[in-house]
């Protein structure tokens, strides 16, 4: 019997018991639907994290002062004042394949301006900071090397700070005060949004690191050094070179600093999402198995119910194979249809989630393929035994069945 004719037969048989077919498919629908929805949400989240990691800049290596365990005490990054401006200069001078560096000094201060005030982070940076972070100036200009050398009282502010201190007006040319020291605003940074770890990246004031260290914070150590490697291939080499250079400079056996690459940051940020995907795949396979059992159950009932029909078909010349294929196709139709409906519902659900929560969602094409394929496979596996049972019926017994 032709596959097309058999398919028509299967659809007709399934339509005869609409409610039952729907309930049978429900297992597969829910399984596939939840997987597609969850995969769409995690993929969207991972994609967003990756985008944000990329927004850090290209080929970035970060050197943090302090270490996970220094002298027996586990401190963590930035917990000990071990990095100096000289370290940053040595890295730029001595490590090959370094494109740019910027010593970073960070402190939280109250900032005043325009009769308003806000609490924000003051970043002391070098001129290369913008280049390293692939960041642009929206209004005005960046401070210059001369400003850095002369400890100039100039600042570039982020969008969040601008909105708080200078709502609906151009902040460039205005003056802000940090610890009672006036800084002239020379530039406004382009909006960057939230970071991988949920920090508002636009909530900052950028000043020359020299000005920050001497005038504002009055300290001699820096928090970390931003380093840009020349090429993506040289990142690991740069990381190793910085480590050995700083070890030699600090004359320490146990390093009192930490060197992280952008890649490691990205891996840390996406690790959760990866675990989630594995977990989802596990749940998916469980729900598909449950759905498959449901299909097998109903197909067994259906074979018993339709014993007489099987007898009639055999009497008029159906071979065992014809009966087998008929019931197998019915089971596959059930599960494949359930899979398709599940994919549709899953994608719809993820769109609703995206719409109502603002999370980005993305349905990977590969998962649509995996979902349809595995639901068809579930149909074949769960339909085979009932179909085989039907095909082995004796025509005389089947015809006599009441």
């Amino acid at each position: 019997m032709r596959i097309f004719a058999t398919l028509r037969l299967a659809v007709r048989a399934l339509r005869r018991n609409k409610l039952r077919s729907l309930l049978t498919m429900l297992g597969i629908i829910i399984g596939v639907g939840s997987v597609i929805a969850a995969v769409s949400i995690t993929t969207g989240a991972t994609k967003q994290v990756e985008d944000r990691v990329a927004s850090l800049g290209q080929n970035i290596v970060m050197v943090y002062s302090g270490n996970f365990n220094t002298g027996g005490t586990r401190g963590g990054w930035g917990s000990a004042p071990t990095l100096t401006v000289e370290d940053a200069e040595a890295i730029r001078r001595e490590v090959p394949s370094v494109a740019a560096t910027s010593p970073e000094v960070r402190d939280q201060y109250q900032v005043l301006g325009n009769g308003l005030n806000c609490n924000t982070t003051i970043y002391g940076e070098d001129v290369d900071f913008l280049h390293i972070r692939s960041w642009n100036i929206e209004e005005g200009v960046m401070f210059t090397d001369a400003d850095v050398r002369s400890l100039a009282k100039v600042a570039v502010i982020g969008r969040t700070v601008a909105d708080q201190l200078f709502p609906n007006q151009n902040p460039v040319g205005e003056t802000i005060r940090v610890r009672d020291i006036p800084f002239k605003v020379v530039g406004l940074l382009e909006q960057k949004g939230f970071s991988v770890f949920g920090r508002d990246q636009d909530d900052l004031v950028l000043v020359p690191y020299t000005s920050h260290m001497r005038r504002v914070a009055r300290r001699t150590y820096i928090n970390n050094v931003l380093v840009e490697a020349a090429t993506p291939e040289s990142i690991n080499q740069v990381q190793a070179d910085i480590t050995s250079l700083l070890k030699a400079r600090h004359r320490s056996i146990e390093p009192d600093f930490t060197v992280r690459t952008q890649l490691e940051v990205a891996q840390m940020a996406t690790a959760t999402a990866k675990i989630m995907s594995v977990l989802l795949a596990a749940i998916a396979s469980v729900s598909l198995i449950v759905g498959g059992i449901g299909i097998m159950n109903i197909m067994l009932v259906s074979v018993t119910e339709r014993t007489r029909e099987i007898g009639i078909r055999m009497a008029v010349g159906a071979r065992a194979r014809d009966i087998l294929v008929q019931f197998l196709i019915e089971a596959v139709t059930l599960s494949a249809l359930g899979g398709l409906i599940g994919i549709g519902l899953g994608m719809g659900a993820s769109k609703i989630v995206a719409y109502s929560t603002g999370w980005p969602t993305l349905t990977p094409f590969s998962w649509v393929g995996i979902a349809s394929l595995s639901s068809a496979v579930v149909g074949v596996i769960s339909g085979f035994y009932p179909a085989w049972k039907a095909s082995k019926l004796d025509p005389i017994d089947a015809l006599r069945y009441e």
Partner: protein, 252 residues
Amino acid sequence: MKPVIQLKDIQKTYHTGEVDVHAVRGVSLEIMPGEFVALMGASGSGKSTLMNTLGCLDRPTGGTYLLDGTDVSRLDRDQLADLRNQKIGFIFQGFNLLARTSAIDNVVLPMLYLQHRLSMREQQERALRSLDLVGLGKRADHHPNQLSGGQQQRVAIARALVNQPALLLADEPTGNLDSQTSIEIMGVFQKLNDQGITIVMVTHELDIARYTKRNVILRDGKILSDTPVPNRLDAGLELSRLKQAQEAIKLA
């Protein structure tokens, strides 16, 4: 002319538990093309078993069975299925139509299992011709539950005819029908037989057997008698006689 059915010393023994049941013990029978035979006998006489054997639903445990020249005894399940498909048309007591399936789709059923495939259009045309033959061409779209018992049996006959079999096998075809409808169905059989179709029918009703040409009576798994029917009844005549009688009752 070669016989359609040639049975030589057919035996059928069922092994149920400790006792062997000899349902058929040595039946030899030849049926020529164009014959119309009634197989008769009390229950337990072996007529149903013989019918299953003739219908290639079951294989004999002994003897040989040639159907249209083919030795059935040595065929496997698939070959038997093909034989049922091409050489035999079945008609059952309980009609055995597929429920919730239109008359024409029921008639199309045997064509779905033909080894050489027919186009959809050809299937529909042949099914419609078959339904016309039993006078139901206008009810092709009706479902079995919209048809009377007699009409359902006609659909079953159309289904049996659609693959142009060498043999029609009817198992108590009038068992579920009232007397007038029974005569109508016998009329259909007589008409088909007049066109040259070979029919073998199992029945236990003597008056129904009188519409056939030859009566074979079985007892205890053996042929008791095998006689041509004298004074064969004509379904058309009987039907008009029955109607006249009904008119007479009304007038009286």
